[in-house]
Symmetry: D2
Subunit: 367 residues, 4 copies
């Protein structure tokens, strides 16, 4: 039997349209920008766990670590310049995991030449920059950008979202999120806590409730005793369009490990992520499970599914997952949080109307 009628192959046309010439069974050739912790992880994940992808190129200003990642991925070509790599005709899709300030420019380059791009959060360093990406995509008339809000692919988050969407708990009315890192990275200030860490939670809240944030109120503490006095523990209270509330604990110096969880309270019930799933160990008068030490460990599955789904969306020619609008809206909310830290008062979040391009699927359950 030789009729290749299903799966990847059926979207061959879309692929031709996107990048040209690749057969239905061929792997998508991907270029990865940045080969540090996140970029290296994405590259290895594409190489070892994503069936339809092939890492053909990596770029980094650090040639040595780029070379190592390229080798580990079975011999990708190394570029010193990200734009050159993005433009290279061997590359059909791009993953961006370089430093934050480079994100917006590289994403715009991908849009300019019509290549699908999966960009790590934050999409940009300001709402204005992100709005530029949204406008470019709207002009293009199709979505090519996915933002790396990987929690949308975490099985435990997905299960909560499915429960919410099932209607069993009634209309969702309250989002509760907690986000704890073991140690604050050196040099992070109060605003960095929002833009680098809290932005995940702002997106998570928007996704879980399916509403935009309308007001934020932030109170914070310095718990590490550091001289900078940065607010490493922040409590962000949210009001949403559609008559919902939210509360987020961002705690980037929690000491005991890494932990992320959410609860969504509905009018009839509530749903939340389960406690740890590792082996239960009883030793020395204790009943214990391990807590992960960082996000790479905690969200290993989420990162894999994120990339699997992204590659599938390229085969299907139908973008999915968190999009440029999500990247933009989360930055608008983050900016309001920063304003609230400065003013000590609740601050309104001025999110414009969502363009029609981003209606529907994009905020639904991933995959």
């Amino acid at each position: 039997m030789t009729t290749p009628s299903g799966g990847h192959a059926e979207n061959k046309g879309a692929n031709v349209e996107n990048g040209g010439g690749r057969g239905g069974d061929e792997r998508v050739p991907v270029g990865v920008v940045g080969t540090g912790g996140m970029g290296g992880m994405h590259a290895m994940c594409l190489h070892r766990k994503v069936a339809g992808a092939k890492v053909v190129a990596v770029s980094d200003v650090d040639a040595e670590r780029a070379g190592k990642v390229a080798g580990d991925c079975g011999g990708a070509v190394v570029f010193g310049d990200a734009v050159e790599m993005i433009r290279d005709e061997s590359v059909e899709a791009v993953v961006i995991a370089s430093p934050d300030p480079t994100h917006a420019g590289l994403v715009l380059e991908c849009l300019r030449i019509g290549k699908p791009v999966m960009c790590e959060k934050p999409l940009a360093t300001s709402p204005g920059e992100a709005l530029g990406i949204v406008e470019a995509e709207v002009d293009l008339g199709r979505r090519l950008v996915q933002v790396g809000f990987m929690r949308r692919y975490d099985p435990q988050h997905v299960d909560v979202k499915r429960t919410v969407d099932s209607g069993h708990i009634g209309r969702p009315v309250l989002f509760k999120g907690w986000h704890r890192n073991q140690r604050i990275p050196p040099g992070t200030d109060s605003e960095g806590v929002i833009v680098n860490s809290g932005i995940h939670d702002l997106d998570s809240a928007r996704w879980m409730l399916g509403e935009e944030i309308e007001e934020v109120f932030v109170r914070g503490l310095n718990t590490s005793g550091s001289s900078g006095g940065e607010l490493d523990l922040q409590l962000i209270q949210l009001s949403f369009s559609g008559n919902c509330l939210g509360i987020i604990e961002v705690n980037v110096d929690a000491g005991f490990g890494y932990e992320v969880g959410v609860e969504v309270v509905g009018e009839r019930g509530t749903a939340y992520t389960a406690p740890p799933t590792g082996a239960i160990v009883r030793l020395q008068n204790s009943y214990a499970q391990n807590v992960e030490t960082d996000w790479l460990e905690r969200f290993e599955t989420a990162y894999t599914v994120e990339l699997q789904n992204w590659i599938e969306s390229i085969y299907r020619g139908r973008p999915g997952g968190p999009d440029a609008w999500d990247g933009y809206a989360s930055l608008v909310a983050a900016e309001a949080c920063i304003a609230s830290i400065r003013s000590g008062r609740p601050e309104a979040v001025a999110t414009p109307e969502r363009p029609a391009l981003y209606a529907g699927e994009a905020t639904g359950v991933a995959g």
Copy 2:
């Protein structure tokens, strides 16, 4: 940068030796025997989630369902005859998921022509048949057979095994396993409960304790009220070499869902698989999580990692995971369980000496 120094490519020699001519970056062409529930699942998993594999052929006596699976996998070739497919030069590695009585013969065919094979459990329908495979491999002088004891790749089981191996709980002295299916498949008799279901638990006990079973005592009940009176609930008490004990509940008509768990008690502590990991939902005076309905759902991740590791072991040229000896030893213990059901008494398990070929790694943590 173009130095393909790492990952799959470094074992190119081994691959050439195993199957000839395939470059380091090429996917392993796999043929899948059987396209029913298990076979179809394995084929789709290889196609969508295993980076280094390519399903090039499937075989089944049912051409229609084979054709559907072939199409879903991007256009594999369909064979009506499994042996013909195994021998086809397009196929370099084989997955066997056809009915149990065919397993041993097809595995021997793979051994005869030197192709790596991942065979669903049970490896054979009798210890004698399985011993034939062990002897053939020993004659060959290298391991090509992996048996589908997927629990060894389940993150929760792996975490318990790691805890045991860490030494924290002291010498392991007691294995406790529970294995519950929603409904007994029609036509299953008391012996089939052992050979089809309990065999997983017998392997799990051997793996967790790192010891062979020396005595079994089985008591059972018919709880379904079926006219056949088959023992759908069996309680298997085990004694091991190395002074350990074990108890297994095999309950194939439990009614409420599918569930598998293990606990290993050590001299200083105990470790066990965690409760369900899905969203916690509070509704109508209840605090609840879903229980999976079958093994495909419960062990989805395990099946994926099993195949990823199998493909990696082919690239590396170093077999891993449960091997022919594990397939054989579990059948020897199963046979003793059946004898105990018949006699109503404890029965000795006569496992011969393990050949040197199977020393070491094979009973360690997978991956």
Copy 3:
């Protein structure tokens, strides 16, 4: 052997001083004001589960239900007038469980004649009224008032408090409380939600952190769809003296049952109340535990220990547990919450200096 050297008897002097003439082994004769749900429960608890107490009198305007409770308690005397009962010389200690507006006046009567009193929350209906009680006690120079914040006796809350006090999790920096009732009682308005329900959480936060509340910010929703539009879901953000934060969910129409929990985040770790403790039941693809339907069921043990400790404190002549100051300070914070609901802004909480009478033990772990 006849040396009554321990336990109750050693505080005989204190008892004589408090009420006169009662021997060390005699039970404390208690009068209970109010024989509705709470009052009846307290009376029966004293009768059946508190070894050193004897319910000698009850009072209620409803003679019939008072008579029933009196009979169930082994034949207590029934009074129609609470003040008359409080003054009766047969009564040495008083429990107040009558409607909220009567609390302050009856407590003052107890203070006037020097009888220990356990008053249900709230201590009064306004901070001013409660301050009057505090001032009367300060004038008296000794503490006779205990307030019915029973969570301080709940084993799960006590275990969290002990963990905090142990120092293991470092300085406590964040309190998180959730408080869910199945249905809002008819006639409750937004302010009643604070004064009747949220007041427990305000006390709990003060107790857990050992600090006073300095600022509150409240956002709320009507989730029941009732015509009154009362805010049955309130999210209260707190700032504390001593550089701590807090967040409370008060959700009095949660639909699914009754639930109260707390988490205290410290600088090095976090501690929280465990999930339900009832039998785990697996049925129909579900893993479930029951959720209690109301506070009487959830806090049955806490109510018992509360009264046992209160009676013990009378024997010992050393008051313990939540005191008049706690009753007052919680009302001051509640008033600020109501102001925040009205203003839509954060509001400062103006708690005066704590009198020396209330230093120390009173805010420690009960019992």
Copy 4:
């Protein structure tokens, strides 16, 4: 209102019949035999937590510790001779917590003079001795003996039992029990493990399933490495009348703490005791709860409810809880376990017909 119509008083007649002359509101005067760990705990529990009891006498050969307990209980009289105390007319009900070999004789003395007695397990040191008590009670024609199987009063066990009795999980078909002590007491041999520890589990299994044990098979290990080689870990497989099975792990040198749990598997579902209920603490990459160190801590509530219900049963004149038959039947099963240890084979349990006196209530849910 002065009509003492309810509660304790309504059974005044029964009390008069049992002991004579005590009014409905008076506390039951109790004598406690043995003032070691268990006896002292029972005495203090009666004194502080059981509303209707008064410890009037204690007896012990160790006058000093007896004197201390008597003092702590508010001045009980101390006896050096247990029989003298039992016969003393100031004592109306007896708790026996002296060494095991004294139990049967003291219980028979209570029966002889018609006083209710709560005897710690085991009821006797042999089935024959226990049968003598059963026969004496049958001759007397009424039940005066309760046996200290306190698990029947543990809230978590009671919740499992209620679930079983509700019928929701279908007919119970399998009992699973685990019982772990931190360290084996010096001088305990393999048989002592059964008679002192396992006897609780044998009673628990009988109670949960409502059936008698018909066959046992025991395998054991020495895990402590002690020179005596006693089997400190025993795995007891059970077959019951009524077509049920059971498995018990008795592990008296588990090292990590004290733990008791049960699961009852029914034809449609399963129910089991919940994990620890103490505060969850996250520290140093761990999610942990404390495990109790001994039975006094783990079963504190159960011991209290046991005595509260025992005193209530005296007021009511209707015995409840585990009775002499339960004490006897558990010893018969224990004897068979010992025989199985010796023979290495399954052994039949020859329990005679249950006398009519013990029909019904006694094996139901306590309280």
